[in-house]
């Protein structure tokens, strides 16, 4: 029965391993404020996860360079502990627990996507850890009564209803026929709810209402239906993969539709990857570099975009911009609270009312940002085939006029 000895040795080995790995770095060590974040570095959200991480990193460097955070007469620098949540909610919840109870993190930054934020929020809430998140837009996040969750972005149901309203206005105020396809995830389903609301409000009819799988690489079935019934508006939402798949297959199948409204065009670098094929696509965005908001750290959108491009080699999608803004919100709240007490920092966050290069930030009771409208841009290409995203709505920031209806493929 010596085998049992081996098992005993084995159990004690685990015990030793666990006990030696209990290293706790507190949230504020020396002159460092350590924030925790679980980010999708691998898995289906990995490209957006990296946009998020780049946004965080850029803001951390900038704030640190410009003098850090001043609390109680002392200067502190930001630092972030990252883990990879593998785009998996189960992993994300575990990591939040780990960041808080093992790494001793007392302030958190959000992950990428609503689903993952939904998994993390109960954990941060339980421990009373303030979390400023920049990438969880699902409306249900803000109706659960969370006290420690703050989102710098507008809720998901507002993403595309501007598009529907625009379509209705262009149709002389009469309802339009909508075809829609949404990925089976928390964010896209919320965008769908927004469209349903908008359709009801404007008397529009939904004639195709499809669900797309999570591993999204084909939506030909939906597009075949679209070709057959000829709706006025086609709405597609499914993160980066959804946008890429839609454009690829619409071009392949030469689907003619007067208006194509989507999300995540900039994160998918549509205009770069698909060039002229992506022309006329209408995209909901939390932010665009041409907006005229200002702050002391990044100056304005154009400067931010230029600095970002210098660092990472691509034009910043809004996911990066809002992530950078999250750090500005934290800095502002720490300085106003003038302490690292979690409750007081939470109260300071709740009282946030500021302008950043990304937009105005002011939190409602539920934690969502109510002071920042969504913008719509359209992919527009010049004759040389160089494509750019131009803001077309709301009119206050529009830098180009909406092209409607989209010319037929045969005329392009």
């Amino acid at each position: 029965m010596k085998i049992k000895n081996i098992i005993i040795t084995f159990v004690s080995a685990i015990a030793i391993l666990f006990s030696t790995s209990v290293v706790s770095f507190a949230k504020v060590v020396g002159d460092k404020i350590i924030l925790g974040a679980a980010i999708s570095l691998t898995g289906k959200y990995s490209s957006n996860g990296v946009h998020t991480q780049n946004g965080y990193n850029m803001a951390v460097d900038r704030i640190n360079e410009m003098g850090g955070v001043k609390v109680g007469g002392k200067t502190y620098m930001f630092d972030i502990i990252y883990y990879d949540d593998e785009s998996n909610p189960k992993r994300a919840a575990q990591l939040a627990e780990r960041l808080i109870s093992q790494d001793g993190v007392e302030f958190m930054l959000g992950p990428y996507s609503s689903g993952l934020t939904k998994a993390i929020a109960p954990v941060t809430e339980k421990y009373g850890v303030p979390m400023v998140e920049a990438n969880g837009a699902s409306r249900s996040l803000f109706t659960k009564g969370y006290k420690y969750l703050f989102a710098v972005l507008a809720p998901a149901n507002l993403y595309l209803d501007v598009a529907i309203e625009t379509a209705v206005a262009l149709n002389g105020g009469k309802g339009v026929r909508i075809a829609q396809a949404f990925e089976q995830d928390a964010f896209s389903q919320d965008v769908r709810l927004g469209i349903l609301d908008a359709a009801e409000r404007t008397g529009s009819k939904i004639i195709i209402d499809d669900k797309l799988p999570k591993e999204l690489n084909d939506m030909a079935a939906t597009l075949a239906k679209v070709k057959a019934v000829k709706p006025d508006v086609l709405v597609v939402s499914g993160h980066t993969k959804g946008a890429l798949t839609a454009i690829r297959q619409i071009a392949e199948m030469k689907v003619d539709v007067p208006m194509l409204a989507m999300t995540h065009c900039d994160a998918a670098k549509l205009s770069k990857q698909h060039g002229k094929n992506s022309q006329y696509a209408l995209c909901a965005s939390q932010w665009h570099k041409t907006l005229t908001y200002k702050d002391d750290f990044f100056k304005d959108g154009m400067t931010y975009a230029a600095d970002f491009e210098k660092l990472f080699g691509y034009d910043p999608p809004y996911q990066s911009a809002e992530s950078s803004a999250a750090l500005l919100v934290f800095k502002d709240a720490f300085e106003r609270a003038n302490t690292f007490d979690q409750k007081k920092v939470r109260d300071a966050l709740a009282a946030t009312n500021m302008q950043t290069f990304y937009g105005n930030i002011k939190f409602a009771e539920g934690g969502q940002n109510v002071d920042k409208p969504m913008v719509l841009f359209q992919v527009m290409c010049d004759d040389a085939g160089k494509c750019e995203n131009k803001v077309v709505a709301p009119l206050k920031w529009a830098s180009a006029e909406l092209i409607h209806p989209i010319p037929k493929w045969s005329e392009r």
């Binding site: 666990f18 575990q94 689903g115 089976q184 919320d190």
Partner: protein, 349 residues
């Protein structure tokens, strides 16, 4: 037998004391218990019966959804709870939470077992690769179907009831740890008890040569179905607890997570040594420790590291750790070895 009692006592005491010795690791320890349960139950089919199933994830996911649905549905309208926007917020009182969870777990255990019986009746006639591929489809199909059912949240996911506000911050972690630990102990004892009866011999006979077993007059179908139902029972329980622990159920990423959990349970059993009682336990423990380690030290490369580990396992420990030990120290497994014969074999090599 004395040594046995000491060993089990030691493990039991360690299990009970663990969350207090390592308070920061409660969640990892709970997940470890769940992983061990999944590995042990997979081993009943994959190891003892020789039916490599990828379908056990179905029962795990079912258990998860059922437990949460019952827990909510007993006190509030389920449809309103999961409704897309989540406009309405209901709060469970502590009594409601625990009652709901207990009933939920019971349902999460029984229903998957019944379903295993029904499915088993129709597909356990398949053998070898055909069975494996068929069960692979089960998990995938379940994930897609549940992602379309509005009442359990569909693509939005299902937020399980938050743990009630009791004064202690540690209560939630301890509650779920002890739930999973108790279920682990029950699973282990149940499987150990089964393995000491004729049942195990029948399963082994099916593995070694099903036709001969049938020719011997054994109703193999009956045993296969019962074996699968037992696995489903405990998989369902594990799923129910995991749902509460994670707090958020997503159809393909958390519940019917065939890509991760579904594959991990196979890996763990193989790593430890399939067809043994302790193999899955050791395999799951080592696997969990490796995984957590890779996660911390190879950020972004953890799957590469895990892949290397799997390759190493397959090359150097094809029979798992228990198999390797058995080959090295056969006498410790109660096998009688003729020393001269062994030496002769060794020199031959």
């Amino acid at each position: 037998m004395n040594k046995n009692i000491i060993l089990y006592g030691a493990i039991l005491i360690f299990g009970i004391a663990a969350p207090f010795i390592f308070p920061a690791f409660k969640v990892q320890l709970s997940i470890l218990c769940i992983l061990i349960i999944l590995a042990i139950t997979w081993n009943v089919q994959g190891g003892e019966m020789g039916y490599n199933t990828f379908g056990n994830i179905l029962f795990y996911g079912l258990g998860m959804y059922l437990c949460a649905s019952v827990q909510v549905g007993m006190f509030f309208p389920l449809g309103e709870w999961t409704e897309g926007g989540g406009e309405k917020t209901f709060v469970h009182t502590p009594a409601q939470f625990f009652q709901g969870f207990a009933v939920g777990l019971a349902v999460a255990a029984v229903v998957p077992a019944i379903i295993a019986g029904l499915i088993g009746y129709s597909i356990l006639g398949l053998r070898g690769h055909y069975f494996a591929i068929c069960t692979l489809g089960l998990g995938v199909a379940a994930g897609e179907i549940s992602g379309g059912i509005e009442i359990i949240g569909a693509g939005q996911g299902f937020t399980t009831p938050p743990f009630p506000n009791v004064d202690r911050l540690e209560a939630r972690g301890e509650f779920f740890y002890f739930c999973s630990f108790i279920v682990l102990v029950l699973t282990f004892l149940a499987v150990k008890a089964i393995y000491s009866t004729r049942f195990k011999l029948v399963l082994n006979a099916i593995r070694d040569n099903e036709d001969k077993a049938e020719a011997m007059g054994i109703q193999t179908m009956k045993y296969k179905i019962i074996g699968w139902m037992i696995s489903a029972f405990f998989c369902g329980l594990a799923g129910g607890i995991m749902g509460g622990l994670v707090g958020y159920i997503d159809s393909t990423d958390v519940a019917f997570d065939g890509r991760e959990m579904g594959v991990f349970m196979v890996l763990m059993a193989i790593l430890g040594g399939k067809g043994t009682l302790w193999g899955p336990v050791i395999g799951a423990t080592l696997f969990h420790i490796f995984k957590e380690g890779f996660w911390t030290f190879f950020l972004g490369w953890q799957y590469v590291a895990l892949g290397v580990l799997i390759v190493v396992i397959v090359i150097y420990f094809p029979e798992g750790i228990m198999g390797w030990l058995r080959e090295k120290y056969p006498e410790r497994f109660g096998e009688v070895v003729d020393e001269a014969d062994r030496k002769a074999q060794v020199t031959l090599k």
